[in-house]
């Protein structure tokens, strides 16, 4: 068999093409370099600027951009600037997923900061898992998730309730009225609350869910009157929080005897309902705007200077702010050629920093965050007064309500 020059050329070309397609690390290596091309590190910022949840997500967008601007002004990350690519997913889970794909596949962002609602996080999850990219989720949420492609910097139920519920029982009594908006977050929080109450010998007089965006609470208030609970445990979200507080106040109920204990009422909602409707009620969260620490003073001052003196910071915008710094710390640990989403994920494990709320750390096992639970009471001036600060930071346990399950580095593990 003779080999002509032509066949040899053809075969070599075919081999070359095969090598290109068949040895993918060559291409991935090139793609890696693209993540830090030209002294720029591209990240996505995916918070709704329009639609129903824009009310809160706008402030998350602002806190994230503030942190990015600060990092860039201080010289960037090892000389590279962070370039935020802002998309508006319009409060719609389908749009979230579409924009996430655009940021990850089209823009080649090395990480995306985004989402307020669980629905939108669940919608983008497949994108990040399939592309093996990294999503930074700042919101307190219901737990029960164990993705290797999400860094969770908000509180999970055990971090909001372990201190809070026993404190409420001790201070006000054992009869709880559980009210929430009708979706997964309030149901999971109440699930955990019921478990805690069972241990404490508490009693749930009612568990009730109102439609999202609901604003007529007079029948709920009648029920509260007739069941006379010691505590109204509220996981109502969005503008419903405002309506519930205002109607509670207008109906002449007394927060000293029957306070609302909320996991969702932040400075943002208090500003909208007015201090007089918020005064006397309680919230549990890792961060409040009045928290005294040099880091928080710096954060609040910078936020107001950048976005307006009437603006407030709250427990989700604080997480947006510090998670951007954690991203920076993780990237700093990596060589430019190693800059990939999975490497950032591995680098951020165990990373800690002094956030406005105190020292926070990413738990290597489950990629959630060690936080500092606090209990605060709203005042008529629209701010909170912190009554209880946890003595120690609290480990995130995303499956706290499900004793057999735990989130580990290998993923969700079920103990039988």
């Amino acid at each position: 068999m003779s080999i002509s020059r032509r066949t040899l050329l053809r075969n070599t070309a075919a081999l070359g093409a095969f090598a290109g397609a068949g040895l993918p690390h060559i291409w991935i290596k090139n793609a890696d370099l693209a993540y830090a091309a030209g002294g720029e590190i591209k990240v996505g910022v995916l918070f709704s600027l329009t639609g129903t949840t824009a009310i809160i997500e706008e402030s998350l967008n602002k806190a994230t951009l503030l942190a990015i601007e600060e990092i860039n002004a201080a010289g960037g990350i090892k000389g590279s600037k962070i370039v935020p690519i802002v998309e508006d997913p319009a409060s719609d889970p389908a749009t979230f997923s579409e924009k996430a794909r655009k940021l990850v596949v089209g823009d080649k962002c090395v990480s995306v900061f985004g989402s307020y609602t669980s629905a939108s996080r669940k919608a983008v999850l497949p994108v990040f898992e399939r592309q093996n990219n990294l999503y930074w989720y700042p919101t307190l949420y219901e737990g029960r998730e164990c993705s290797k492609n999400v860094i969770y910097t908000g509180a999970v139920p055990n971090q909001q309730q372990d201190e809070f519920v026993p404190w409420l029982v001790k201070k006000f009594g054992k009869k709880f009225y559980l009210i929430g908006s009708n979706y997964i977050y309030p149901k999971e929080e109440n699930n955990y609350c019921k478990k805690l109450l069972e241990k404490l010998g508490g009693e749930v007089v009612a568990e009730e869910y109102v439609p999202l965006g609901h604003s007529e609470f007079s029948s709920v208030i009648n029920k509260i009157r007739s069941t006379q609970p010691n505590v109204i445990f509220s996981t109502v979200v969005g503008d419903s929080v405002v309506a519930l507080h205002r109607q509670y106040k207008a109906a002449g109920l007394d927060p000293e005897k029957m306070p609302m204990a909320s996991l969702t009422t932040s400075e943002n909602e208090v500003a909208a309902m007015g201090g007089e409707a918020a005064a006397g009620h309680f919230t549990s969260a890792p961060y409040f705007m009045v928290h005294k620490s040099p880091e928080n003073e710096k954060f609040v001052e910078a936020y107001k200077k950048r976005w307006g003196a009437d603006k407030v910071t709250h427990f989700v915008s604080e997480a947006c702010y510090f998670q951007t710094y954690l991203f920076k710390q993780a990237v700093e640990k990596l060589a430019t050629s190693d800059l990939t989403p999975p490497n950032i994920r591995d680098a951020v494990k165990g990373q800690s920093m002094i956030a406005p709320q105190g020292k926070v750390q990413i738990e290597p096992e489950n990629l959630h965050t060690w936080l500092w639970p606090k209990i605060a009471q709203a005042k008529s001036n629209g701010q909170f007064e912190i009554l209880v600060e946890a003595k120690d930071w609290l480990k995130p346990v995303p499956y706290a309500a499900y004793p057999g399950q735990s989130c580990t580095e290998k993923g969700l593990v079920e103990k039988s």
């Binding site: 009310i55 706008e58 207008a250």
Partner: protein, 289 residues
Amino acid sequence: MDQFIEQIVTGLSIGSILLLVALGLSIIYGSMGIINLAHGEFVMLGAYAAWVFHTYLGLGLLASLVPIFLVVAAFGWVIERYVLSLLNNRPLDTILATWGVGIMLQQAVRLMVGSELRYVQLPPALADSMNVFGIPISSYRVFLFVVSIALFGATWMLMNRTTVGMKLRAIIQDRSVAASFGINAKRVYALTFAYGAGLAGLAGALVSPLKSVSPDMGTGYVVDAFMVVVLGGVQSLAGTVASAFILGELSGGIAFLQNDTVAKTIVLLAIVVLIRFRPEGLFTARVRA
């Protein structure tokens, strides 16, 4: 027994808010046959107007009611004059046009004042609660009840005891014949639409201290308003009142016995079933065929 009375009073209060929100729509839909999907945005504009008057001019809610009515009515007039009347008020075209106007208003507010929730103060004099039949109820809710009945009364008088109302009723019966009698239908339509829009604006301002103010708050109200008007029967003002209170009692009662999610579902289902068997609604004005 106490609970029963309490629940009846609550239902009246919910009903009065429904009536407030639906009254403007009832005029526009009932009289002009225009399905005004921007109704919710007029409600929203009213709420924002209350916020603007309070924040920038220091006016209390009660003092700003009349200016709010005028401002939103002026908006309505402009939209009728420069959008709807150019479409000759054709029902299908106006659905699309009003929907578009609604979206534009929403986005305009979002762009101009931002999308965060806004705060409208409860008038301090009405901030307490009072006893009605031994039942503690918010003074402001009692006030809303009185205002909604008064506005209904005013609207009824306007329709049935004034020249403008008479002209409008003539146009409803037959536009061309009315025009041949020298009635300027265009002008009457513009005024009616403005009046309906003004009422929606008032409703928005009045409910804002109990609820919340945001650019998309109108979406919920427009659904409520259509439910009331459709159930009550188009062209029947009294029907609107009756249906507002029926819906108020029904949703309040079911919410008490079950919860608000169930109440919403059952009420919607009941309306759908009822419309199947009485497409004209519960109450219909007698119109010559």
